[in-house]
């Protein structure tokens, strides 16, 4: 049994392309993008702005149809669990629900009884450090705090696959580091399959088992870097020479793409 589940990746995206066309304009966001993610793998995607990272996550979540290509996701053993839960780049925390209601939303939609739902939501709110704001509405929170609500909402709904779109992008450096530690700790506990989009190479190397580098416009896969840093990891790993080498190698490869992306923007 162990053997068969190894053979099938948790996610297999084959030859995905995505073209947005509103009226006359056509934007090719993704071209022939293929990716496999193993069960329990923490996969990071890095790429220049506008290369289709968010579009790819939306396609994985079934929120956006791909123009061509196929997505196969192996369902888990518990049919009650959602397949994917997304942390949106734009937070997407409901302004009309309190922090508690937001975090418990996925569970509520799944029909988890209220008492249980509240307990689970509460514990996740504590873990992201928002206990004081449990009954606050989002307009009372800062951008970073809203994103922590988004993260807690995704974690609380306990999905097969966690999709995170630049979840720490809006945070200050200190909170960011704290939450990176927290994410590492949570992941070591559960070993969930994670697809994690970030702009920060350090973050990708710190968190990921592999880092996928995407090209600019249209997004394709440029290179994959396995991160052989030992698990369980913590922030200490960032002080090692190996960490520095890995980040530098990835940056070398990424630099060309970023320059290309900036030139493309300049032309239009």
């Amino acid at each position: 049994m162990e053997h068969t589940s190894r053979a099938l990746p948790k996610i297999r995206a084959s030859h995905i392309s995505k073209v947005f066309s509103n009226g006359k304009e056509r934007v090719e966001a993704l071209r022939d993008f293929s990716l496999e993610v193993q069960e329990g793998e923490f996969l990071c995607i890095v790429g220049p702005s506008g290369c289709g990272k968010s579009s790819f996550l939306r396609i994985l979540a079934g929120l956006l149809p791909a123009s061509s290509g196929t997505i196969e996701i192996q369902p888990g053993e518990d049919p009650g669990k959602p397949l994917t839960s997304m942390v949106f780049q734009e937070y997407a925390v409901f302004p009309w629900k309190t922090v508690l209601e937001n975090v418990g939303f996925g569970l509520q939609m799944r029909g988890v009884p209220k008492a249980e739902r509240l307990t689970i939501a509460q514990s996740w709110i504590e873990r992201v450090g928002l206990s004081k704001f449990i009954h606050a509405y989002p307009h009372q929170l800062s951008g970073g705090m809203k994103q922590r609500v988004g993260i807690a909402r995704a974690l609380a709904s306990d999905p097969e696959i966690l999709l995170m779109d630049e979840p720490l992008g809006a945070l200050d450096a200190q909170t960011r580091t704290l939450l990176q530690e927290e994410i590492l700790r949570i992941w070591e506990e559960r070993r969930k399959t994670v697809v994690y989009v970030t702009h920060s190479i350090e973050e990708a190397v710190l968190l990921g088992d592999r880092v996928v580098l995407m090209t600019a416009h249209p997004g394709t896969q440029k290179a994959v870097f396995p991160i052989p840093l030992p698990r369980p990891r913590d922030l200490k790993v960032m002080a090692t020479a190996e960490f520095g080498e890995l980040t530098y190698t990835i940056w070398e490869a990424l630099r060309g793409e970023v320059l290309k992306a900036m030139k493309l923007l300049g032309e239009t």
Partner: protein
Amino acid sequence: MNGKGNPKLLSLLTLLFALWNGCLTLFHGWTAFWWLGLGVDFLLIVGIAELIGKRIPPLYAPLYRRSLSVSFPLLLFLAWELLVRGGVLSPDWFPPPSRIVQALWELITKFDEFSKTSLLGRPWLLLGAAWGNRPETVKELLAESHLYATLMRVFVGFFLGATPGILLGMVMGVSPTIRTMIDATLSAFYVLPKIAIFPIMMLIFPDPFGEGPKIAVVAISVFFLVTINTMVGVRDIEPVYLEAGRNYGASGFRLFYHVILPGALPVVFAGLRIALGTALIVIIAVEFVRAKTGVGFLTFYYWEILSPEKMYAGLVVVMVLGVLLTAGLKKVEQWVMPWRKP
């Protein structure tokens, strides 16, 4: 230049103000130059208020602002009163505020024997009847009240128009097909001045002079405004909220209840606010034309018998009504949407 407001300048301006008004009065300049006099007065008052504002400690700033916004209309009334008494403005067109207040008091306290009506339905009797549990008397008293007649038309019409308006707007917002089908037609009706359909309503209803056509015009005006606003509210919800809703397992009715409805509410309420104002405009206009009760009728009636101060009293009642209704809706809004920034 220091930002603290120069006390010397302040005294100078105050002196100028006194001199200017004194001279105009002394040389009987008001009759010919009243508009110039008021204009200069206004500028001087703005200057004085500005200078005082700079010297007010921040703690009292809100109080200062509130007293500014209250005292300006009072000053306006004072100027009005003085201009009429001084013979500059004709009391036939602009009865002085003191007489308007008097007329209002008369309207509130007196029962009109001729038309068998009163403005408020004689509240002192009303309270007694309600206290003494005499529903028949209460009914009679309410029936003679102009304010009650107008309020009922507004409320019933508003409710009858807003309810289907919200429903249709939601359906149109959710379904692009229905939206495309109905949108153009709706927009055409939207630009039609609703008062224009009043004759048709009078034709349709068996009793053309009864309440039916009046309420129907209000309801129809409200309906179009609310429908369009609700549709826009639903259509313009940030797509990412819908995505989040769907991603976390909401669909169908639950997506509607948890995401679409609350997401559209702010715009829906904006529509309700506009619709309420419009309802008031429409009902007053209808009452001008064809009614035997209502605040609009009352105002028009006093035009017919040439009693300008009572006309103005009618306007005051309409204004107060508008302010109170809007404030009430605001309260409902805060209650329904506690999550909005205050």
